[in-house]
Symmetry: C5
Subunit: 253 residues, 5 copies
């Protein structure tokens, strides 16, 4: 849009130099906070160091506090072949647009292998089974090879529908820069943080990438996570209501 | 308005070169989603290849997914003497203005024969007959010859009223570029997607253009289409409520 | 305001050259749609040809349809010493400002004799008499001679009050260009289109200008007009509610 | 703010030249319309001629009508050592800012002696006594000499509180240009126009300036004024609700 | 953001020259008005002279009145090693951003030792104990040394959560200029001004800085303060509702 300097900047810490053709996982709080829960768990479970953050006047005027220390709300962690972007705040329209562009450009500059978005999609099955049925993980991708491997990694094709907001822009921006982008949408609760849906997405990730994340601690701590994320959940639901909903319109193929 | 580069761009794929003085059909979701249903059915029924899409920062931040592949929400299909523009999202005020301008210019550049808009108009008859009466198709046109042939192609003249939004701007822009523009308004349900109204518009199109579209499959699949389009329907109704309504004011001739 | 090109342009058709120091009648839909009804009736009754229209990005994105032909919503009709501006859409704030400026300038360029605005003013008398009492027509003018002739033409002086929107700007702009401007406010219904109030304003016009308009057909067709204008009435009422109301504040003289 | 031409201009008529180091009284409709009532009464009672008006695109699109003649809504009257600014419309945020700046500059250019603002302040006493108790008049001033004479002119010091809108900006702008500014706040009704409060402010003015205004006719005509100002009252109350309220916060001195 | 002149300016009075590497206390009205009460009490108790104020078009159009004299709503007091910034109005989004930047820059220019923000955090304990339990004071800081001394000064670490608005921007801006910033959040009432919470914060300040403020008079005058601050309290609550809430989201460390 604007030809000048982007209103969103990715600031790197020194450790950032250690990345090597990384796969970039992106976790933004939307439906069920699935993206933020999965990405945060990855960071903690794999002990990934903080390597950068997103700086922008478009961000809300907040700092996130961890152990009495103020932190930026959207940070990047990683080492070796893995980078993880975690947002602890909902991302609204204008920021969405610019953040997706900058993340795609940053991945390009890092010679990243692919971008993997993780989020939730509302599911009646999930609600009716009271979370006891393992959530199906749907996949959308701009890359033909990835599209052929959807079933092999334990996901299902997403037949028809509309994807909105940051993940939609990420699909567009990655496509125009030639970066493979896979979006995983785990069936989730719409009203509560859903660690179970995050675990299902991570299981798919285990088959896609050379990682082996044990999701048992995530499932065991589900109740605690749900409580601690109540604040972010209600902010996210307000943000979602202001966006185009993720419902399937498609008439033809 | 702005003298610089338009905020709406029509991007062409290679196949676009194969058009030959095309008639350009435009289907945008409004009343009863008549335009989108009719245009989508044309594309599918005639097997028209994708030849371009609309690119703009004014578009909502969405991608439409078909078979796990992300697609632009406003696309152009066609071959030979026929081009079809299909929007899978409602088109709001500012975008309306620019989209109509660019479509008129693109048609001019392609030496297009005419532009045919398809949409619905609310009808009590349609509601009271529970959709059993064949919908009347009203016609408005900036071209004297087309106006004389309205009855011949099975439509009725639109006596007095106001036409709003994209189709109104299309009538204005085509007029100033000297392109004949015919707008077909099929009587339709206001509350539900109306494949029957779309079929009635296509019957008129069959008489206007050298095509022969069988609408029986469209009518047979009506219930399924209605269900699959619920999401787009509710978005469109919200968008319509923010626009000038299509009610007849006229006092004089 | 802006020093550059106005965002409102008056476009002339060829017939426009035939005007000769015209009195310019302006009919815009406000209270009771009195202005639009009176001006439209003048055009039809005197068979005035279309000689121009208002072009602007500030107009809503609509076309008005008459006999299947799309028309601009604000048009100018006239011949000889009479020009009539008719709007078939309510005119909102920003457009108001620019439209009044351009109409005053256009009148100046045409060496127009005066500008006569016609509109309604809410009246309890009108409501209580169920429209049976002949409406009083109040007059406001920036011209001393016209002010002295108010009673002679069958109108009454408007003692104290506020005039809002297009007609107010027209009074200001005409004053600064030295054009006499008379505003006629006929007592009218606030809730319904009021052809009777329009007829009363036309009777005053008959005494002011060298015209002789028979208002009987207007009164006979009142019911039909009221029905056909329901759509414009409800749009206009919404627009009025967003404006300063026409209620008298004045404390001193 | 803007370095260019102000969006508010004070236009002078010829009589304006006759001012001689004037005290400038400012009456803007706020609480109880006290300012407008007091200033209008001054103009009428002292027979002050119209000497200028405020011209601005920020004004609402209205004209005020007096005896069938359209007038600007904010006008300046005066002769000799007295100038009176009267607004017959509520003054909203942006206009407030610019109007105060221009009035201060104009006073400076006229070598004005001081600016005296008149307005109301809501009072439970006033309501409970049904207007029978003489309203107290509070005073705020940026000038040390005036502050010392507050009691001498029959006013009371305003201990702690917040003053909002045009009068606040006037205090700031006069201070930066070195013009003494006294603001009189008469206890008044919040819900009705309050000529009694205006009379109390005028009594203070009688002691401050070399004038002798008989307020008896104002008190006698109170009921009539209240009725004739209903329209402006309701507009003003709507405007006040959109502003910071005039309630005392102060913790320390 | 903008590269030009900041829309917020800190204007200094002469006394300002007397500061010597000051610690800068910042009191802005948020939860329980804790910041404004604590900072105002410091100013009054230590008899600090006024040394500057904040000037900006982003400020609301108000003056604060103390003893009939109009004052700027955000002022700076101080002498020697102490400066205190007190706002008597809530600080909204855009102003927040710029004010924090300018305060950080001003502290840098004064070679300030650190910035200490004081505010409240809602507490059920505070409500349930009817204010009888001594409020806990939580601390957040961008400085490692200060973080290690949190318990030593009688505060508690703030584990996880989000800090919004001016104090958040102040943490960010101080961090980028290398200024230590400590934010004290005293448990407070959300619905009432809370002098008890302000006293608790001042007790921590007594241990952090070379001052000895007796908080007994503050506690004794609590009821009076609560009454006199009702106006500011309700404005502040409205402002808070438009901001991101201060609730803990954190999933990981």
């Amino acid at each position: 849009m604007s030809k000048g300097r982007s209103p969103v900047q990715i600031r790197e810490l020194e450790a950032s130099a250690k990345l090597s053709r990384p796969s970039v996982i992106v976790g933004i709080p939307e439906m069920g906070l699935v993206g933020t829960i999965a990405a945060s768990y990855l960071v903690e479970h794999l002990g990934l160091p903080e390597i950068g953050y997103v700086d922008s006047d478009l961000l809300p005027q907040v700092v996130v506090v961890h152990d009495s220390e103020p932190k930026e709300p959207i940070r990047i962690f990683g080492k070796g072949t893995l980078a993880v972007v975690v947002s602890e705040i909902p991302v609204t329209a204008r920021l969405s647009y610019e953040l997706a562009s900058e993340l795609a450009k940053w991945t390009k500059a890092k010679q990243g292998k692919m971008v993997v978005g993780i989020t939730g999609i509302p599911s009646e099955d999930r609600v009716e089974s009271a979370g006891n049925k393992t959530p199906i993980v749907l996949a959308v991708t701009n890359d033909e090879n990835l599209r052929r491997s959807i079933k092999a990694i334990g996901a299902e094709p997403f037949e028809h529908g509309i994807i909105a907001s940051t993940y939609a822009m990420l699909l567009k921006r990655c496509a125009s820069l030639g970066i493979p982008n896979l979006l995983l949408l785990a069936e989730s609760f719409a009203e509560f943080p859903d660690p179970g849906a995050a675990a299902a997405a991570l299981q798919v990730l285990n088959k896609l990438l050379p990682i082996a994340v044990d999701v048992k601690p995530l499932l065991d701590g589900a109740e605690e996570i749900r409580l601690s994320l109540r604040g972010l959940m209600s902010q996210t639901q307000q943000a979602i209501q202001q966006q185009v909903t993720q419902t399937p319109p498609g008439v033809y193929h």
